[in-house]
């Protein structure tokens, strides 16, 4: 897909050449730039859904982008409730989207 990067900017200038790193989101490799947050790297690759609501399963992505709202929480290298918008990417970082609790009573399942 077309990159969403702002390569050129009339005031801020051209983007400097970036060092590339590979991150994994739900087992898929994605290219990121050093200095990216998880959220910006994934958005640049067109990934918008970072989790589904634990009960209602509605899809969610970034909302505030500065760490206030916790909507972009994902699991990073096994640690959960990590905010994608305030976490820098690292080489070979393993990120998993937030899943629903499959046995939630909301869906008529059994606890």
């Amino acid at each position: 897909m077309k990159s969403m990067r702002v390569e050129h900017h009339p005031i801020l200038g051209d983007m400097e050449k970036q060092q590339r790193v590979t991150i994994y989101f739900d087992n898929q490799p994605y290219e990121a730039y050093k200095g990216d947050t998880i959220a910006s790297a994934l958005l640049a690759s067109g990934v918008r859904t970072l989790r589904v609501h634990e009960d209602k399963e509605t899809p969610r992505g970034i909302y505030c982008n500065i760490g206030h709202c916790f909507e972009c929480r994902v699991t990073v290298n096994g640690v959960n409730t990590v905010r994608a918008c305030v976490t820098s990417v690292e080489e070979n970082m393993v990120i998993e989207s937030g899943k629903s609790f499959a046995t939630s009573s909301q869906k008529g399942g059994q606890l």
Binding site: R5, V6, I11, M15, S40, T58, P59, Y63
Partner: protein
Amino acid sequence: MIDLVIVGAGPAGLGAAIAAAENGLEVVILDEFVKPGGRLLGQLHEEPDGRWENGIVEAQKLYDCAARLGVTILCGVSVYDLQQVNNGWCVYTTKQPFESKCLLLATGASETPIPIPGWTLPGVMSIGAAQVMGNVHRVKPGEKGIIIGVNVLSVAIARELQLCGVHIEGIMLPKQSLVSGDASKPEAMMESLLRLSHLAPSPFIRFGGKWVSPKLGTLLYPRNGFKMWDIPIQLRKTALEIVGDKQVEGVRVADISATGEVIPGKEKVVSADFVCIAGGLTPLSELASVAGCTFCYVPELGGHIPLHNEYMQTNVDGLYVAGNITGVESAKVARAQGTVAGLSISRELHALQDTADDFVHAAVMKVKETRRNALIQFQPGIEEARKALYEKYEEQAGKPISI
């Protein structure tokens, strides 16, 4: 024990750190974002003389200056609790606890939401989120966007997104609801826009700013809105719902009357791949509340404000505030307030010489001057509201604090 811990590395926090470190204090700044600069990072605007003010460059200058003075700046660290300890404060963070003689909260503001059906869909974000994505991370939030909420912030950021190569389909009002308040009223929003009129290239709004009352403005201008920087500003259209299956596909829009009532039979879906919610800013004062500050509700300043005086002192020992936590204003005002806080703290810790009062007084004057010269007034009546707040502080001084 560290002399001063500052929570927030925006213009206020960095400004305070510089002033304090210049007077020999040992300072640590904590911030949960990946880089220092706070809200300043995303800002980009043209001054009346045609010069561009670039927040990234300004933030870098402040950072370099603070770093040169030996300030420790830690990013990616979240503060989750505070406690008063003997002769100072203990700040609990995701990294380690920090103990300091004085504490400055420069946590800025959070964005005020406007709930709209469909606003949890991926691709819907706060206007500040889009600003940070485009200007700081250099990633477009989408190709074609609609902004819901007409105010000084949304118009300014729409322009910035346009510079990032994003098409802005329009800026419109949110649908009326129990929580939308003035945000869905054309007249109130026109008034808010007129405070931008001196910046606007549109002859209509420039004319409006000078001669037309807000009321006349909303009645006069064309149903299809007017344009600023070629961006349609639609005070007579309302966003009823954000639509999309797995992510944003568009916004269901209706025409509204000058008083904000939906005109039936004029609904349609306008396609877009992202939507920004622009509800304004609210001071982020949770840590001040945990610390036991007294609060005042001041709508002109954006909401609940920790009671403080002109020297940025709260009514809790050793606790100071600066920047948007004290009321929503421009980054330049925040920076000037930071200097006041840094000097006041230096005075409290006896790091200033005999002329301390003169220094602090000059810094206070500088805040007032900066406020008067600010390009954007977020709300009318800021100066009066602040005066009342400081008087209230004086009234309460000496009285025991009830929490």
